[in-house]
Each structure stands twice: as C-alpha cells, then as structure tokens.
C-alpha cells in the first residue's frame, strides 16, 4: 500500500507548494488543537499575502499570531478576534482585512466546502451586519440567509494520532474545527502527536478518514494553555 503512505519527514516537505496569496484553512479553537509546527513552518517560509481561515488567530507571539508579526496574513476569516492585541490593532488600522463569520457558519462553510455543497441557508446572522448583501429567503415563514462554502489551497490540521494512510483521531476538545478543515484543503497536511500502525485505530472510531489527508508529520507540541482556571478547593 505504498501509494497510501502519507508520512513526510520534515516540515519543508509538509508545506511544500505553499505560495504567496494562497488560502490556508487552519484547525484549532483558541490555542487548543492547533498545528503548531506547521504554523512555525509558514513563518519560516515567509509566505505572504495569505488568506487564513481559522476561528481565531492565536495570541500575540503564539499560534497563528506569529504570522501577524511579519504581516504574512492579508486576510483573516474568523469568528473571534478576542484578546489578540496585534490582531485587533492591525484590524483597526486597516492593515488586515477581516471577514468576521459566526462560529457555526464558519464550521459549516468548511464542511460544505469539503462536501461539495457550494451554498446553504442558515438563520444565523439574518438581520445583522453578517447578513448584509446576502440573499434572504423564507422557509416555513422564517427568513434565512445564503452562505457560500469555503475551500483552501492548503488545510493545516492538528490531530492526536494518525496512521500512515492518514486516518486521524483527535483528543478531547482539541477536535474542534480540525475535522472540517481536513476536508476543505486541496492539500491537507496533518501534524500529529503520534503515528500509529494501520489497524491500531478502530475503523468506526476514525474521525478523519485518510482520503482527506495528503501529508502526515509527527510534530512537537508546546500546547500552551490560554486560560488556566482551577477548581476552588
């Protein structure tokens, strides 16, 4: 099954083909479940003019935030700027184009992109700035807006374990946007904590079938925690 071996040895090979002005779809929610090494590699490559589709843009100095420092990102498609000062500053200065997209709509746009659904209707955002300029249609007397799907030149994904065929599973809430991102990239690269043998992952429990995955790389993760909150004793 050599034709199905997706494992690559280094980050240059993992991100080979990424060029200026491409669209990159990234998994992750906050700093949870982000492909840390693939993001660092994009910084290393210095690729610019990128459109990045990701729920958040990391924090100052970590995650996708490091791509803001050298202005590698032209446009973000995100639901939340959050507490990322550089993101907010570049946005307010007009240096960074931002398409704010409701979180559920963003997830569904990625899924639709991977699933060959060019557009769908949702009530989310109707009557708000998100709905402006979008087609409105009533179903059963309720107004919905039409949202179009998203695909990317690359998808960068963080999984827990993958086998060499690219079958992936995610751990806890580090799953988040990763499975949808994996379906929506022309080239999908998955950075994992552990590479296992085919058959070690139970077939019915695989979150992302290998058909979606072009390259798998074993990464090293810092797994920084954004907000550590402890139970009171």
């Amino acid at each position: 099954m050599s034709g199905f071996n997706k494992v690559v040895d280094n980050y240059w090979e993992a991100m080979d083909g990424l060029q200026d002005n491409m669209t990159v779809i990234a998994g992750g929610f906050g700093l949870c479940g982000i492909p840390e090494g693939l993001i660092t590699q994009i910084k290393e490559m210095g690729t610019s003019g990128l459109t990045v589709v990701s729920n958040n843009c990391g924090v100052d100095g970590f995650g996708l935030g490091i791509l803001l420092e050298d202005r590698q990102i032209k446009k973000m498609v995100s639901s939340y700027v959050g507490e990322n000062a550089l993101f907010e500053q570049q946005l307010l200065n007009g240096e960074l184009e931002v398409e704010l997209t409701p979180q559920g709509t963003l997830a569904e746009k990625m899924r639709a992109g991977g699933a060959g659904i060019p557009a769908f209707f949702t009530a989310t955002g109707y009557g708000t700035p998100v709905g402006e300029g979008k087609e409105v249609r009533e179903f059963d007397g309720r107004p919905y807006i039409m949202e179009e799907s998203i695909t990317g030149d690359f998808a960068i994904v963080k999984a827990w374990k993958a086998d060499k065929y690219g079958n992936c599973i995610y751990r806890h809430t580090a799953q988040n946007f990763n499975p949808m991102a994996a379906t929506a990239g022309k080239i999908t690269v998955v950075e994992v904590e552990e590479i296992v043998e085919p058959g070690e992952l139970e077939a019915s429990q695989i979150h992302t079938p290998g058909i979606y995955v072009d390259r798998v790389i074993k990464g090293q993760f810092e797994k920084r925690i954004e907000r550590q909150v402890l139970a009171k004793n």
């Binding site: 929610f29 704010l100 009530a123 989310t124 955002g125 708000t128 809430t173």
Partner: protein, 218 residues
C-alpha cells in the same frame, strides 16, 4: 437593592427544568451553573464541542486539550460527549439545546440583541453568539439594567450592530425579570427592594407593568 452578579445567576438557574441541555455564555451566565437546584440536573453544552461540561480542573487534572468555549481549562462529566465544531453548531442551529443564556450590550422591544461590537471601540467578533441566538429554543439575556453611566440597556431600538433579530424572549437583570412580546418589555418580577419606579426609570424601551408583578425569589 440591585442584585449582585451571583444573585442574577441564582435567578437564572430557577428557569431550568430537570433534563435541560443548556448553553451558558461567558460572565454571569456561566455563574448560573453554580446555582442549579439540588433536585434537578442540567447538562451544559460548550460550543467548542463538549456536551456535559464539568467543573474547573484541580491542578493535577489540567489538560490543554480540554477547554470550554471561553478557552478556560475545564473537565467533562461522566457521560459527556465530545464532537467537532460543525456537529456542535448543528446541535445549536437545529434547536436541540433547550436554553441559551448570554450577556448583551443592548436589547430592544422587538427582541433584537446587540452583544458583539461597539463600532470604533471594540471588535471582539461574534464567536458563536449569532448561531446561539438563531438556534436555541429559549434564550435568556442577563445583564445589568443600565450601564455604568446609568444609561438604559433596554431600548426601543438597538443602536449597536445586532447579534440577532426577534430572538430574545426573556431578560433577567439586576433589577427585574421581563418578557419580550408584542413590541414591549413586560415586567414580571422586580428584585427585592427595587421599586417599580426605578425599573421604569431605567428602562428606555416601552415597558408594560401588569398588575401581577411579583418580587423575585432567589
């Protein structure tokens, strides 16, 4: 006396029924989880992909892969399920979550809500709030009745960019509980020690005060 944040959360928790699935926004809504009556259970949905959210972790339970929608470290209850963001919002958008409780900058008499942006000042993004207000069966807004300058947050028409339209049915503030219907706020309860006059004064939108307004029980 205006309610404290904890007291608002206490009143919110009284809305829940045994077996409700509930999504709690950041801030006061999250506190409501601490006041769920002992004889009922609710299951908390966190929109980043967790149904059955538990308490915060002890030091030895901290796990970077287990966070809530506020990006805080968290635990899962026994019997929880974890899923991706598309499935999480399918659950929300499809109306399977019984209650959503969230904060707001403004609410108006049409049930419109503004909660995510103050032009020129604050752009945090809407996160999952637009999906939640479009999808949940029952939406409760919790907030202080007026801002720190004394300006009412209960308006005839929202002035800030909207999060959703015609979606808010119940509001619980530090002063009162109100229903939103027929283009007005209907007062149903006042906080202990808060006069109807004070509520009237701090409500900019059309307020209807029926005869049977009761005092909130906490």
């Amino acid at each position: 006396m205006a309610l404290t944040r904890d007291q608002i959360a206490m009143r919110v928790a009284k809305e829940f029924k045994d077996g409700d699935y509930v999504n709690l926004g950041i801030g006061i809504p999250t506190l409501a989880a601490n006041f769920v009556p002992e004889d009922i259970s609710v299951m908390l949905q966190s929109e980043n992909g967790l149904l059955g959210m538990g308490r915060y972790p002890y030091e030895d339970e901290i796990d970077a892969d287990m966070i809530n929608a506020g990006k805080e470290t968290v635990t899962a209850i026994t019997g929880a399920s974890i899923f991706n963001s598309a499935d999480s919002f399918a659950m929300i958008r499809g109306g399977h979550v019984d209650f959503t409780v969230l904060g707001a900058f403004e609410v108006d008499v049409e049930g419109n809500i503004a909660s995510w942006m103050i032009p020129g000042k604050l752009i945090k993004g809407m996160g999952g709030a637009m999906d939640l207000v479009a999808g949940a069966k029952n939406i409760i807004v919790t907030m202080t009745h007026a801002d720190k300058h004394g300006n009412s947050k209960l308006l005839q028409k929202c002035t800030l960019p909207l999060t959703g339209v015609n979606c808010i049915t119940r509001i619980i503030t530090d002063l009162a509980v109100m229903e939103v219907k027929d283009g007005a706020f209907y007062l149903t309860e006042h906080a202990p020690g808060v006069s109807i006059e004070e509520i009237k004064e701090k409500t900019a939108g059309k307020l209807i005060v029926p005869d049977n307004v009761t005092e909130m029980v906490l």
